[in-house]
């Protein structure tokens, strides 16, 4: 507890605490300001943040710029959708299939993509993801590009744990989000994490001090894929709907942007980035139809002038205080 309190003394610590408190309290805060729909906005942000956190694991800590990360959202989402379509509503089965399926696909794609570097890696991850996107569009049985409605949310057979209850849905996502944050914190500081970060910093040198970095990068890629799969599972449950759009390349692009906006290579950066991105686009779209005209330049300004994203900006105050 003392450790957590001491964290809160730094500007970044305070900012991160605010992020978490906002997530925690939105179901009560939103009705209080008579903007109930902000609870859904926040829930959507928390779910998407899990995917952004997973992207940050490989991109912010491992230098693997995957431009196809949304494909794992799709795998998780469609695992719920397709199984539910065939009458399998057990959450245990749906979630296992979604997470393991994403992991296996990440293993296959990663094994091939990680043979390449730089811009080739970006292009090949994009190509693979688009391949799956077009696959999902082409299957009429599952709604092709109209998407697939999901009749009921995953059923875990536990009475006290019913995802159809809005509060249960919200706090399930919250707990899983916190778990993913903690998990990524542990992983990036572990021996494994040091190898991943080392390979981002200087891959050749890692080789010459005895690391074949490929298997480590592949493992990170698979972990990130599974985490993004979880995000897709939650999204399918919350929206009761999946569609190919969730794995279109623009979704992957937004994910990259959110991670950059929040601050790559920081634990809370992706969460902040996702929240700011989704809440700001929500607010702007309420003000004007042409909200993209404001949002676009804002994004460009952030990328140009705020290196290190929001975490970077706030981190600057930290140094001055020292």
């Amino acid at each position: 507890m003392g450790k957590i309190l001491s964290l809160m003394k730094t500007p970044r610590g305070i900012y991160n605490t605010i992020l978490v408190l906002l997530c925690l309290s939105m179901p009560f805060l939103a009705p209080a300001i008579e903007q109930d729909f902000y609870r859904d906005v926040m829930l959507r942000a928390m779910i998407f943040a899990i995917a952004t956190i997973s992207l940050n694991l490989i991109m912010g800590y491992g230098g693997m710029i995957s431009f196809g990360h949304a494909v794992y959202l799709g795998v998780g989402g469609y695992a719920v959708g397709i199984l539910s379509y065939h009458g399998i509503e057990s959450g245990w089965i749906q979630w296992s299939v979604g997470i393991i399926g994403s992991g296996l696909l990440a293993l296959l794609f990663g094994a091939i993509c990680l043979r390449t570097k730089g811009v080739y890696f970006i292009m090949i991850t994009l190509a693979f993801a688009q391949m799956i996107y077009f696959l999902s569009v082409s299957i009429e049985k599952y709604g092709s590009d109209d998407g697939l409605n999901i009749d009921t949310r995953s059923n875990f057979g536990i009475e006290a744990f019913d995802l159809n209850d809005p509060m249960t849905m919200y706090y399930t996502a919250f707990v899983l989000l916190m778990a993913c944050l903690y998990f990524s914190h542990r992983i990036v500081n572990s021996r494994f994490g040091m190898v991943i970060r080392g390979s981002m910093s200087n891959d050749d040198r890692m080789g010459s001090i005895g690391y074949p970095t490929y298997p480590y990068k592949l493992a990170a890629f698979v972990i990130a894929g599974m985490m993004a799969g979880l995000s897709g599972i939650l999204s399918a449950n919350f929206e009761s709907f999946v569609s190919p759009d969730m794995m279109f390349w623009t979704t992957s692009g937004e994910m990259i942007f959110m991670a950059v906006l929040g601050g790559l290579g920081t634990i809370f950066g992706p969460l902040g980035g996702t929240m700011i991105f989704l809440i700001l686009s929500e607010m702007l779209s309420n003000i004007t139809e042409a909200w993209h005209l404001i949002f676009g330049p804002f994004l460009i300004v952030v990328v140009l002038f705020a290196r290190g994203g929001v975490e970077g900006i706030i981190g600057k105050f930290e140094k001055r205080n020292d």
Partner: protein, 248 residues
């Protein structure tokens, strides 16, 4: 005569029409410092890239410690004890100095598929890394970001990372690169203290350092060894003098 720990046989590497390594032969004996000198473009760095496994050879073979390592990857060669340093400082600049060394130590402690315990709180790892830093004179600098070190310090960290892997054999690619004469002398003194502990293949432009350290010298010109022998033999070799050392 003692057994050669490193044996390079008829090694070849060409880039298009340019033969960078031209049927090169070399034997380095256990415990010695063997220097390779040669003018710019002689193929010294290509050679070290081939021996360290960063570059595939087009022909010939490399034997290290009784094993054929010709087709072995760079990380695997490192695990056999054959470790290189880099001419252009190749450290992890956004890592703390101590983490650079700790990573090299971690590499020799089995696999790193350990996902939970914080590496920077691993006392054993940090302690061993600190010991390496003390030895090379960077004991006070552990918490500094490696990229913020002065040039001479970065050069020392470069060597420290190689030493931290517990090598048998060091491939040193111009350890004095970019150093002023004082720093260069310090490095020479330091490398002398390592003599006997490690076998070394030293590529260096600084002739003072080479003649002060080397037991034997091989002269490389256009990818070929034109002479090999003791420092005195090399100094007095007419062919070498005309090709490289100059007649002054």
């Amino acid at each position: 005569m003692t057994e050669a720990i490193l044996k390079v046989d008829n090694l070849v590497k060409s880039f298009g029409g340019l033969v960078a390594t031209d049927h090169f032969n070399l034997e380095v004996e256990q415990g010695e410092i063997h220097a390779i000198i040669g003018p710019n473009g002689a193929g010294k760095t290509t050679l070290i890239n081939q021996i360290s496994g960063m570059m595939k050879s087009d022909g010939g073979s490399i034997t290290f410690d009784g094993r054929d390592i010709t087709h072995m990857s760079a990380p695997s060669r490192c695990h056999t004890g054959l470790v290189r340093s880099f001419q252009i400082t190749s450290i992890l600049k956004n890592f703390r100095v101590i983490d650079n060394v700790a990573l090299a130590i971690q590499a020799r402690q089995g696999h790193s598929f350990r996902f939970w315990k914080a590496a920077q709180k691993d006392q054993e790892l940090q302690g061993a890394a600190q010991a390496v830093l003390e030895e090379i004179g960077l004991g006070e600098r552990g918490n500094v970001l490696a990229g913020n070190l002065a040039h001479g310090e970065q050069r020392r960290l470069e060597i420290a990372m190689a030493l931290a892997t517990s090598p048998k054999f060091l491939l040193l690619d111009e350890p004095m690169a970019g150093m002023d004469s004082q720093a260069s002398e310090d490095m020479t003194t330091y490398l002398r203290t390592l003599k006997g502990k490690y076998t070394m293949l030293l590529i260096e432009h600084d002739m003072d350092a080479v003649f002060a350290l080397a037991d034997r010298i091989t002269v490389l010109v256009y990818g070929r060894a034109i002479a090999s022998g003791s420092p005195d033999e090399i100094r007095n070799n007419a062919e070498v003098r005309s090709a490289y050392l100059g007649d002054d």
